[in-house]
Symmetry: C2
DNA sequence: GTCGGTGCAAAACGTTTGCACCTCG
DNA sequence: CGAGGTGCAAACGTTTTGCACCGAC
């Protein structure tokens, strides 16, 4: 194994965590005395059961396939809510629209985006965290969120 | 000095490089047999003489202040041209629009964006390059461009 | 019953484009 | 003179919003 690669951890969430996430959502909503509507449940389910990064359009289309007719406005409002509750992350891969993904715990993932096939590979490297942490500490900068996006050609496309 | 901070280089471009950049632009245009118009000169000058990241609106407003009346379309077209010629870089700081900055050489800068004051601090850390290079090599990913954006609170605002 | 959510359509926003006219070379 | 650039306004695509109605609790 190439030195350094050992700390690259797989980024696929554990299967079957959708149910757990849904319970977390229910709890967060109850805590804030916000209603747990059918629409919120359906939209969250799409996100929690997918391993891909979904756009608002993707979510709407998936819902439509399953017979749900939920307006785009509600999709956008719910996705924003999930981000605010810390259950989803928002990504911009320079496509002209945003994508969303379920967020498990506090983990931050970085992304390699293939400009040929459009595929997105997540990664996480502890050494990167360490070096970056040092830079921020030196600058006296208190990090909140971060984005690392590498655009280029993936292994399969080159 | 804190260990690791020694390789953080200042990212302010040398003063007086606007004239040089303008000559480079003139050369690039001539090479491609594209006209060096008054509008292109004026727009490029705004970018080359500013140390800030400018939006298309910023550029238009600055031009207007100096008595130039140049349409937004031309501003957008010229900024895109400068990016294509490698004389400017495009940034998205999650404000809903893009910002542009002159690009000196091939250097890639990373950014810390303060969510309180909106200030953007550029940085470059060689160790980060090394670690990131290793991750990409392991993944067989051929990098083209990259973005590292840290959102949080800057030293002055915390 | 009340507060908030939803759906629709319209608006908002930054950005791009079509087209007649102009300008650089 | 000709290729390309410019300006205007209209189009574009995503996201947000106003408002009447509906549903959760």
């Amino acid at each position: 194994m190439t030195p350094g690669s050992s700390s690259i951890v797989p980024t696929r969430p554990p299967l079957g965590c959708a149910a757990v996430m849904m319970e977390v959502l229910r709890g967060e909503l109850r805590e804030r005395e916000l209603p747990f509507t059918q629409q919120r449940e359906a939209i969250a389910r799409e996100l929690f059961e997918s391993t891909r990064h979904l756009s608002a359009d993707d979510v709407e289309a998936l819902l439509f396939e399953r017979g749900h007719h939920i307006g785009k406005a509600t999709v956008y409002r719910t996705l924003a809510l999930l981000v605010e509750l810390g259950l989803a992350t928002e990504h911009d891969f320079d496509e002209g629209f945003r994508r969303y993904q379920m967020k498990v715990g506090a983990a931050q993932y970085d992304h390699m985006i293939c400009t040929v096939c459009g595929g997105v590979t997540q990664f996480r490297q502890e050494e990167l965290e360490t070096v970056l942490g040092g830079v921020l500490r030196d600058a006296g900068f208190e990090p909140l969120t971060r984005q690392i996006k590498i655009f280029g050609t993936c292994n399969d496309c080159s």
